[in-house]
Symmetry: C2
């Protein structure tokens, strides 16, 4: 049975949009989607994806995807575009410095947010790199701050945008 190829993107998707704390949990989520595998296989899958379990600030754990898997390889671009265009609830703050946007998230959510940001396929964002609770996004040199503001308007909660508004109006406003 060679389901691995189709399964890995699904795992990425699950981990990105859910808080999965163990391989058993993941197994159940996969089962729902028609993939029946043992924990042993998941251990290998996760190693392959360079997934990693990290403590959340809720006291538990959560699997997140390491950056390089998404930054360079990007073999999973077109999963099952589950990007709900709803505003991203895990975002805490946003700031801009030069061609760089820094988004702080609740711990464990950076990966998911970066993923969703990627999925927008905006010409204004050249690439993202998530940590555990921080996303760096590199901005296209030709994009204006107004472009960015518009982009994030449909992506981040109003409260976050409000707090960051001055960032988009300062100098360099093209």
């Amino acid at each position: 049975m060679k389901k691995r190829k189709s399964r890995l993107p699904v795992i990425v998707d699950i981990l990105t949009h859910n808080s999965i704390g163990s391989q058993e949990e993941l197994s159940k989520q996969l089962a729902i989607r028609g993939y029946i595998v043992t924990q042993a296989t998941l251990s290998r899958d996760l190693k392959m994806l360079r997934t990693t379990k990290i403590a959340t600030d809720m006291g538990g754990y959560r699997y997140i995807i390491a950056d390089s898997e998404r930054l360079s390889n990007e073999p999973f671009a077109k999963t099952q575009n589950t990007v709900q265009s709803s505003l991203h609830p895990a975002a805490l703050s946003l700031s801009v410095s030069g061609n760089l946007v820094v988004i702080k998230t609740r711990n464990g959510y950076a990966s998911g947010l970066a993923y969703d940001l990627d999925m927008l396929e905006s010409q204004h964002i050249l690439g993202t790199i998530p940590g555990a609770d921080t996303v760096f996004a590199v901005v296209n040199e030709t994009s204006s701050r107004k472009d960015l503001f518009n982009l994030f308007q449909s992506f981040l909660p109003q409260s976050v945008l409000d707090a960051a508004k001055h960032q988009f109006l300062g100098e360099d406003n093209e």
Copy 2:
């Protein structure tokens, strides 16, 4: 016995400069430095530090420190400044884009390199965020490329610098 406070920075130091693949290994390294603790305690320590085990491309595993612990809290600034000013052997390449420096490292070493870069406390580097094999460093807007070149000259191997030299001489050379 309340050694935790003094132990945590040592753990950060050990994980930063060594490839530690299990809590047993870490325990041994700590013992060498005079900290005798059980695995149970290390499990708690590592959770507290938001440390995480990630697959290396050597087929094994390695603990790395999550970014935010170092980015925001930074309670461990002045550990035992074990920053050997020797050139960083894990660095593979360096590139500059705008106010951003991107350093590629061997897998698992980004965290350590970012840590050492932080330790330089250069005014030219505002902050770093490590992934598994990539470090993003945000550059002070007022720093010149020449400043950067000088900075990295004493930090990265000559071969890496050579390959990146043109990056510092192109446009925007102040």
